[in-house]
Structures are given as C-alpha cells and as structure tokens.
Amino acid sequence: MDQLLQFFISGLTVGSIYALVALGFSIIYNASDVVNFAQGEFVMIGAMSAIFMLKAGIPYPLAIFLAILISATVGLCLEKFAIEPAKRATVVSTIIITIGASIFLRGAALLIWGKDIYGLPPFTDNTPIHIGRATMLPQNLWVMLGTAFLVIVVRYFFDKTRVGKAILACSYNKKAAYLVGINVKTMLLIAYGLSAALGAVAGVLIAPITFMTYGAGVMLGLKGFCAAILGGMGNSMGAVLGGLILGIVETVGAGFISSGYKDAIAFFVILLVLFFKPSGILGKGEVERV
C-alpha cells in the first residue's frame, strides 16, 4: 500500500511535467492544425536562458521573466522567418518546417550554452513533503500549481478573449476568418509567441527537478506530444489528463511489471487508446468540413 501510494504520487509528479509540456502544443494546433515539433526546444530555451541569467547575477524572478520573454521572441521569429514565408505550405509541410526549426534551435543552443548539464535552484525550500510514507518535493507542487494555472489561462484565452476566438476561427477556416476581418497573419504570429512563452514557463518550472541540457527538449517534447494526443490534441484539459495518465501508467507499470519496459508499457497504452478513440480521450473527433 505504501508502495502504491508512492507510485501514484511519483506518477502525478512526472505526469504534471508531461502535462505542462503538452499544454504548449495546443495553442499552435488550435491556430493552424499544425503540431509544432519545436515545442520541446521552447521549453529548453526557457530553462537555459533562466539558468544563465541567474548565473550572470540577475535576480531569480527577473531572470524567469526575461527567459519567458526570450523564448517568446524566439517563437515570434520562428513564425516570421520560417512559417510565414511558406504560407502556401500544407499542414504536413509546415510540421516538417517545425522539425527543421527544432534541429536548428538545438544546434544554436549547443553553440551558445555548450554541452554541459545545468540545474536551477528550487523556487522554495527543498525539504520533501511526506504523505504517509510517500514523499514529494515542494517543486513538484509548483509544477502542479503551474499546470493548473496555465490550463485556466489557456481555457479563458480561447473561450473568452477576442484574440483567442479569432485564433480558433483561423483554424476552422482561414478564408472565412479573413473575410470577417481577422488578420490571419497576426493571429498566427501571436499563437507562436504565446506557445513559446508557455513552453518557457514549463521549462523554468521543471528545470529544478530534471536538470537541463541543450538536447533535453527532444525527449520532453516527445513525451508532451504523446500526452497531448492521448488527451486529445488542442484540448487543454485533454493535455493535462493525457499527461497525468501517461505519468501514472509509466510509474505503476515500472513499479509492478518492470522498470526496463516502462516506456514500452506507456506506449502500448497510448496505442490502445488511439485504436479505440483516434482523436484522443477528450478529442472531439474529425468534423467533416464541407
């Protein structure tokens, strides 16, 4: 019973990291049906910029703020110089552009920050919190809190704000959106900037737990992507649900079956879900557009 509780809590902590990364995928997906494979790199850039600004002596909160700004700028540049010039590209071609962008960003990070591994100090005290015999770190709570906060922000953004609704409109029908007076170009730019900023927040929150290297974005992005499609692409609640399920399946699988097959078990579950519900748990399914 002790063990099960710890597995569950470990699953939640890992899952909330996946969820946080998965959230970042939803904005660009909602704006253009494109899965942005550079999302993991946004996470890495956010964390690495914060780490190096902290090293340079900038106070922690300011370093975090600037890191988010830097990542958002990178997102804007990516849209302006790589996505926008290829405006006639199909969704698949755009996805391939984002893969290229992720390789480019990783290379740039390697040149700027080197190959070393870095950590961030935890936000608050680092004494483990005990729940029965199970434990978790206060930073894990920050991650969960951050995830919850961002879910609400993303939901509010798409449901209530004019810009959010306009972005959604672009994804449904670009031409129609343009005809009702929405500046499609600007909307896409906003989507990339916001998405990168969201990624940076994730990076800063998880860096104290997982450490960062220039290449850490690949695996984080991949796990986040899995969480996103498991929960339903583009749905922010789905991203959170997908992340938590993925985390718990991984830890319980590792705990009770075999830690060597941890990822295999998780991917098997994802395949199973997608077999019965290809649009993900909370996904709405393909709507036929006439």
């Binding site: 002790d2 063990q3 710890q6 597995f7 809590i9 470990s10 699953g11 902590t13 890992v14 990291i17 390697l110 190959k115 070393d116 591994i117 950590g119 483990p128 434990t135 978790m136 770190l137 998880i206 737990i209 997982t210 450490f211 290297t213 290449g215 850490a216 690949v218 695996m219 991984e250 830890t251 590792a254 705990g255 075999s258 830690s259 060597g260 941890k262 990822d263």
Partner: protein
Amino acid sequence: MRFNKFLVLFSIISFMMFLGSGSSFAKKPLKIGSFLAVTGPASFLGDPELKTLQMYIEEINAKGGVDGHKIEFVHYDTKGKAKEAKNFVNRLIKKDRVDVIIGGTTSGNTLAVIDIVQRAKVPFISLAGSIKIVEPVKKWVFKTPHTDKMAAQKIFEDMKKRGITKIALITGNGGFDKSGRAQCLALAPKYGIKIVADEQYNNSDTDMTTQLTKIRATDAQAILNFGFGKAPAIVVKNAKQLGINLPIYESHGVASKKFIELAGDAANGVRLPAAALIVADQLPDTDPQKKVLLDYKKKFEAKYGPVSTFGGHAYDALFIVVNAVKRAGVIDRAKIRDEIEKTKGFVGTGGVFNMSPTDHLGLGLDAFKMIEIQNGKWKLLY
C-alpha cells in the same frame, strides 16, 4: 638516348637527396590519425580528448618532434556515430596513410572499426571503456581507459570490506550502463554479493522515485548505480527525498565536478571508483603518478579550463605511442605496434601501464582509487 640520360641523372639526384635526408632536418613525419566524438551525445568525452591531443602534439612539435620526426595530426569528428567512424578510419588508412590511430571515443565507435584496423595492420589505441575491446586480445588494438569490469571489481571489493552482501542495482539504458550492469551481474557472485533488485531507467527520465521505492521495499544493504550524465544525480537526489539512508555507490561515469554540482548535498557519502586525476593533490608525494597528473592538470587548465579524466586517456595513448616510436627508432607500423605491446612501467594519468602480448590495456585494479564525496568534495579513501 636522351631519355635514359635524364633518368640516370634523376636517380642520382634522388639518391643524393635520400642520403642527405638521413642527417638533415627532413626526417619522415610521424602521422597520427584520430577519429573522436567531438560533437554529439558523447562530446563530453571526445572534446577534452581532442584538446589534449592537439595541445601535446603542438608542444612536441615545438620541441622538434619525436627524435626529429615531426608529428602530423589528422583528425575527424564522428559525432559518436559508428558508421561515420568506419568511414573515417578507412579514410585515415587508405587516403591519409597514417602510421598510428588514436581514437574511437565510445565503445560502439571502437568496436565498429576493429575489423578494419586488424585487416589493414595499423596500430590502434582506443579511448573507449568496454572490456570487449581488448578481451580477447586483438593483435593491432590497444586501449588506455579503465574498464567497466575493473570498476565493478573495485566497488565489490569495497562492499566486501564494509560487510555488505545484499545490494540493489539500478542502471540506465545507455551502452555504458548496460555493459556495466552485465559486468555487475556476472561478477557479484564471485564476491559473495547477492543482487536483490535490478531496476532500470531511461537516461532521459525525469524521476526515479518509482524504482527507488521498489528498492526501499527490499532488504538491500547498499545501492549501486551504474550510469553517467544527469540520471545518477537524479537517482541520489530521489534517494534522499525518499529518506533512503543506504550507502550509495556510483560508477566512474560520474567522476566529474558536474555530478556534485547537480546532486548538491545529496551527493555526500556517495562512493565511487575513479582515476586518480580528480584527487591528484591528495595523493602522497611518493606516488609516481602525482607529478604526471599535476602537470597535465596544470597545462590543460591553463589553456582550456577544468580538466576531466577523459582527456587523460588521450594523454596516455599519445605518450605510449611517442615512447614506442622512440624505442622503435623508425616509423614503421609493425615495429611501432611491437613496441607499444612492450610498454612497461609507463606512468600515465590512468595509472601505471604494463602491457604484454596477453594484456593490451596494462592497468591493474590499483589504477582505480576509491573515492567518497564529503562536503561536496572528492576525498581519496585508498
């Protein structure tokens, strides 16, 4: 027969040039070829290796070369890919026609090219860890780094001294981790040690509390983590978080300041076997390695910053070759190979090398030091 006259004249001139070359500066250069993983995932190994080679070759050439033979250095970056390693080694042998090859940063890269160098009969000193490189012995292949087998032996010896008989093993999914795990599983029974848990993680994982929770439920008296990179730091941090007070052993893969920096105070009390380089200043003055180590450290740090044991392997390989060439007296692949094999009492950064036809590494278990991390610093135990 004007043509014939010309030929005679030409041969006389070339013969005179040949005679002259024996005494003058124009000695045949010593061509050293190298293929290292300078970028890519194993860059933390390949990068200091290349810097070490370049630094010392420059120095040797500035002093007039090896017995007058200037060293010509040819280098390729494999990015850690075995296929690239094969291509580059073929190029080194066929196009660059090198006399000796030093390189093969990772075990994968080295094992991929062994057949090629064996067939071409070029002496090759590998800088990779796996025991498979020199066991069974291959005529043209040598290596300088300690093996994972030695690390496991050193750890088990220390456990035996402390009366530990039941341990939990936790390893990553990389080549280094897997090879280390296999050695641990094979060797443990010889030391009367029982492995009561055998857990694994992914090297990119963010949390190992699940595996450690399982270990906590066993009756293990110590935890042995074979790995490198950020994962071992997460393992020791998670163990502390879970309140596990068992002694933790790490492999030589974490013997860098980075590990202490990442793991913070969770690293205290962790024991690991490592090359003497990281505790050079703590060695007794009678230790023959002390001077070599401090010299290397001083030179490397003056030029590039913090030293790592990995660059030291390149230092050892280079000077084993240089000494072999000096003894051989000529630049000849076969003779250089024979002399490398006769290396005796060479004091390098990894230990004192004594090679033989049956041992192409030449290091004993004493080449590894047992180290404990105390107050965020390396402490030499024995």
